[in-house]
Amino acid sequence: MSGVPSLSDLNLAATLPVSFLALYACLLMIVDLFVPRTRKHITAGLTMLGLGIALVLALLPLAGAARFGDGERAFGGMYIADSFSDGVNVIVLITALLGVMVAYNYLDRIQRQRGEYYSLLLFTTLGVMMMGAAGDLVVVFVALELLSIPLYILSGFRRPQEASEESALKYFILGAFASGFLVYGIALIYGATGVTDFEGIWAAVEEIVAEDASSKYLLLVGAGLLLVGLGFKVAAVPFHMWTPDVYQGAPTSVVAYMSVAAKVGGFAALVRVLGSGMVNFALDGGLVAAWQDTVWLIAALTMILGNFVAIVQSDLKRLLAYSSIAHAGYMLIGVAAAGSAPVADEAARAVIMYLMAYAFTNVGAFAVVIAVERDDASNTGLESMRGLAVKQPLLAASMAIFMFSLTGIPLTAGFIGKWFVFKAAIAADLIPVAVVGVLTSLISAFYYLRIVWYMYFESGESEAHVPVPLAWAISIAAVGTLLLGIFPYLLSDMTHKITLAFGP
């Protein structure tokens, strides 16, 4: 169509946080070759430095202090640098910083202190950031793979331990299977609309709906397959089977990071594709998108199954895996609410707020599991929490904060996240799903508060030990959880500029 674009047309500056981190990650991989085996703290430190600089670069536009580049669109609309992508960047960079802190000592303990860990972690982070900024289905697909492939390797990082290898293989096979569905869905959407960029899709959908063209069926199947592919990534029922196995088998430091990062990426893509590209896909002439019913049904099933199966778990990592399935359900309520065009922006904001709250809380909870875990990956049962309050009062207090936040008790971040998601659902006239959400939160109190009970009211010999970087990570996560809960305007200020809509 057009000639070769010149470098200045690309608006490279708008992608500054991502392009900086991409260069940094490649350089780090080379630099790490010259760092001797015994001094990998240098690599870890350099990783933190890179993530820190990228975080500052992502926070500047969000705080309104600086705006890089010329407008939001870069690379001819492939990359969109708006408030939504800034929000995603901040969440995933904070998660990655905490992820490095929890990993450093853990890798020493399991004798897998290798530089590749940090490079792979940076590449995954990049994948999530690109996912949040995607303006085109090609970018969604490439970013999804950039996010997933390093995670497959990280899950198997503890080889030759069998559980770790097994979790990596399971994650890989199901992940590759899911991306097959995703990309088949994308191909059908391309067939129905003739374009792959979201703005073009939005315009084509407008036309298809107006003319009631037969390509709407192709689009419907495409959207469905895309939902299957991304549903696998965010662990929504019925595509959740891999989650408990992978979370239990993979090294805990990896799980702490990926339980949040993979969800951030998946939900960013869902909001971008469904909430912005296909929000006007209303077959019955109303304002409600055709995919909304499916999404809220999946959300309700995910919340119910996740919370009920979590009750019977006796292993902390499996329990938190089912809890993360349940939380995917709460976030899916937000995605479903984005299907009502007037509420789409509010719903996108709610999802970002929920993810921010979830990032601090969930990384913190897994960090506490790392503290009690033995070097041979045992002692992650619920009974390992017994007597923690006597031996490590601060650690137990932090874990209590995380559990309260996951339940959604007021004055914690989790409550604020749930509040905004339910509010968006009610605004979108999805009251039954919001009711299911509130009721399942009550059920979840049973298994979250049981952990608190074990820590404070049962006696036992806790063997928890908290080295320095891990202690920092847990305190940052705990402070973050409380701060966002007590000052909710921190979150609503961060997200109030998010608008996704194309057209009038």
Binding site: M1, L137, V138, F141, V142, E145, I149, Y152, I153, G156, R159, P160, E162, A163, E165, E166, S167, A168, L169, K170, F172, I173, A176, F177, S179, G180, F181, V183, Y184, I186, A187, L188, Y190, G191, G194, V195, T196, P244, D245, Q248, G249, V309, Q313, R318
Partner: protein
């Protein structure tokens, strides 16, 4: 000229073959090959849609290139994981890999 729907039928059949393979085969290598079949079905779709619907806009063709580059990267990681498991257990049968269960 061959009509578009014929290409789509071939692609759908290939995708279903791959799907069946992933669900039914026991050998991890065969599962990996079936996943490749699914991705190749996507490529047929993309190129057919490009040729018939938007022959002037190259995005469908470019997408197909992205798909097979990514597929190659995925296979590299997948085979490495399978080799690593084979060294430990002398088996690539997916059913033997069953330590983690609920």
């Amino acid at each position: 000229m061959v009509p578009l729907w014929m290409y789509l039928v071939v692609a759908a059949a290939l995708f279903s073959t791959g799907l069946f393979g992933v669900l039914a085969r026991r050998n991890a290598i065969a599962i990996l090959m079936s996943i490749e079949l699914m991705l190749n079905a996507v490529n047929i779709n993309l190129v057919a849609f490009w040729r018939y619907n938007t022959p002037l806009d190259l995005s469908g063709q470019a997408f197909a290139v992205f798909v097979f580059v990514v597929a190659a990267a995925e296979v590299a990681v997948g085979l490495a994981l399978i080799i690593s498991i084979y060294r430990k257990r002398q088996s690539v049968i997916a059913e033997d890999v069953n330590m983690l269960k609920w």
